[in-house]
């Protein structure tokens, strides 16, 4: 399913602990246009709750979350 999502940018956040994943995504999302999608790959289990919280507060949309064995991939659409 995630193969269907067209992404405009990929952020490799593997190996980064709190608070870096949300700091990096908040900077990264500004580099795409509204409506475009950022793919963010993390290894921090905390990001499973942090990314949705970040998206809710900042008004962006997490289209899909793919949980692999060691990695979590978020597809985030910039809304505002």
């Amino acid at each position: 399913m995630s193969n269907d999502i067209k992404t405009d940018m990929t952020l490799d956040l593997k190996g980064l602990p709190c608070p870096m994943p949300v700091v990096k995504i908040s900077q990264g999302i500004k580099k795409v246009e509204k409506g475009q999608v950022v793919e963010a790959i993390t290894t921090d289990p905390g990001s499973l709750t942090d990314f949705p919280a970040w998206a809710r507060i900042n008004g962006h949309e997490i289209i899909e979350t793919v949980q692999g064995d060691d990695e979590i991939t978020f597809y985030i659409k910039r809304i505002v």
């Binding site: 908040s26 919280a53 507060i57 900042n58």
Partner: protein, 181 residues
Amino acid sequence: MEELQKQIDELKAQMGGMDAKIASNKLSMIVFSGDLDKALAAFIIGTGAVAMGMEVVMFFTFWGTPILRAKDKKAKGKDPISQMFGAMLPKGGSKLKLSNMNMGGAGTAMMKSLMTKKNVASVEEMIEMAGELGVKIYVCEMSMDLMGFKPEEIIDYPGLTYCGVAKFLEEAVNSKVQLFI
């Protein structure tokens, strides 16, 4: 009718002052502690808050003040008591100790090596990142004076300002979140 107009006018006057009273999306934090763990927590929350779209102001006071000392700077002309404080208090983020399990420095050393291994940013790195993210830093003037610290031995941080309690309270009143660490 006249009564109604009066009420409307009163409401309008109240509404006019509303904007100033609504707390902005800001985090005001007092960093009172100079422990490694607490300083780290303060900067993690501070930088995380920027990611959450908040404006962040950090006030360093008392034992928190030495966190901002530059390890490679010196201040001249200190009296003996200030010199003693200077020698006994940590010289910057890299010299902080754990609040718990310090064990004569062994615990702190172990924690630091763990942090490196697990890719956790050091306090010094966090300070640098906070600067890049636009976190504002205010330093308590009275703490500086009490401990005999001089501005020339404090780190280069964008927009670092010395202030008193009124500045903190002005920020705190207008902040949705206030923390004391």
